[in-house]
């Protein structure tokens, strides 16, 4: 998986792998919030929340702005709402499932072709 890194989508998926971060996105989908508020909502330390917000920010899912001493977070340019984010994760699961199904289908097709040829002989 590591070789796929660098893609924006991969950063998004990685950012979304964590329940807290998905919660943060949902929360920000409702209203902008400061890091302190987010830390309180998710019962975490400020440092812990800063780290999560940093991951979301690098993925473009969250944008932050510092006004005075308060850093406000809002949904970023990637604009993945909570629901879109869930759907992307869900799609990833079905996509890998169906890619495996593709392999099986190719096998079945090959087998069928071989059987056909045998019959004709």
């Amino acid at each position: 998986m590591v070789q796929h890194l660098g893609g924006h989508l991969d950063a998004s998926f990685a950012a979304l792998s964590d329940a807290t971060r998905r919660g943060v996105l949902e929360q920000l989908g409702r209203a902008d919030a400061s890091i302190t508020e987010l830390a309180e909502t998710f019962h975490m330390t400020l440092t812990g929340m800063k780290k999560h917000v940093g991951v979301l920010e690098r993925a473009g899912l969250v944008a932050t702005e510092k006004v005075g001493r308060v850093r406000t977070c809002k949904l970023g340019p990637s604009r993945l709402s909570g629901e879109t984010a869930w759907i992307e994760g869900y799609r990833q699961l079905w996509s890998s499932r169906f890619d495996e199904l593709d392999t099986i289908i190719e096998e079945l097709k090959r087998k069928e072709n071989v059987d056909e040829r045998k019959k004709r002989r």
Partner: protein
């Protein structure tokens, strides 16, 4: 969004799309380069189904799979969760129409269980597969979207996560 731009020598795959059709529904579509009967065979032959239902990227190991694929018949999938617990998914088939349609219930979450319908439609030498999940409520659908998908992918994501969180790890 094209995720495969970085010169990966992978063959072009058909794309899987997901759409939240309504508050209680999710629709997953995918085309296969094969006739419907072959796709149907891969769905309804337990030995084959076992090989694709749990993708390699999924950290869960499938311990057992039993299925009596006919109307009224049941299925049961048992997964190993980190070697200490097992997790079962089960339900029964409401409809099994060769080469075109399979409908089953998902009873592991009790009352909230979704009904899944897979339809196969042949288009030339390809088959359009539509998987439709109907949940009892928006809450049940959201819970499935949020947890179901990610729980399976968790470990893979966590590995990526570590790389991203480590300073200098982002490429």
């Amino acid at each position: 969004m094209n995720a495969r731009k970085d010169g990966e020598p992978k063959p072009t795959k058909n794309r899987t799309t997901v759409e939240a059709k309504s508050e209680r529904e999710v629709v997953v579509t995918r085309t296969f380069d094969a006739p419907a009967r072959i796709v149907f065979q891969a769905w309804t032959t337990p030995a084959l189904f076992k090989r694709w239902w749990v993708p390699k990227s999924m950290p869960l190991a499938l311990l057992s799979y039993e299925a009596d694929i006919r109307v009224g018949g049941g299925y049961r999938l048992v997964f190993d969760v980190d070697g200490t617990k097992t997790m079962a998914f089960f339900g029964k088939y409401l409809e099994v129409t060769p080469h075109s349609r399979i409908v089953w219930t998902n009873d592991e979450s009790g009352e909230d269980g979704a009904v899944t319908t897979v339809t196969l439609e042949e288009k030339g030498d390809k088959t359009l597969q539509v998987l439709h999940e109907l949940y009892r409520s928006k809450g049940a659908r959201d819970a499935a979207l949020a947890s179901g998908a990610y729980d399976g992918m968790g470990e893979t994501f966590e590995q990526l996560d570590e790389v991203l969180v480590t300073p200098g790890g982002t490429s």
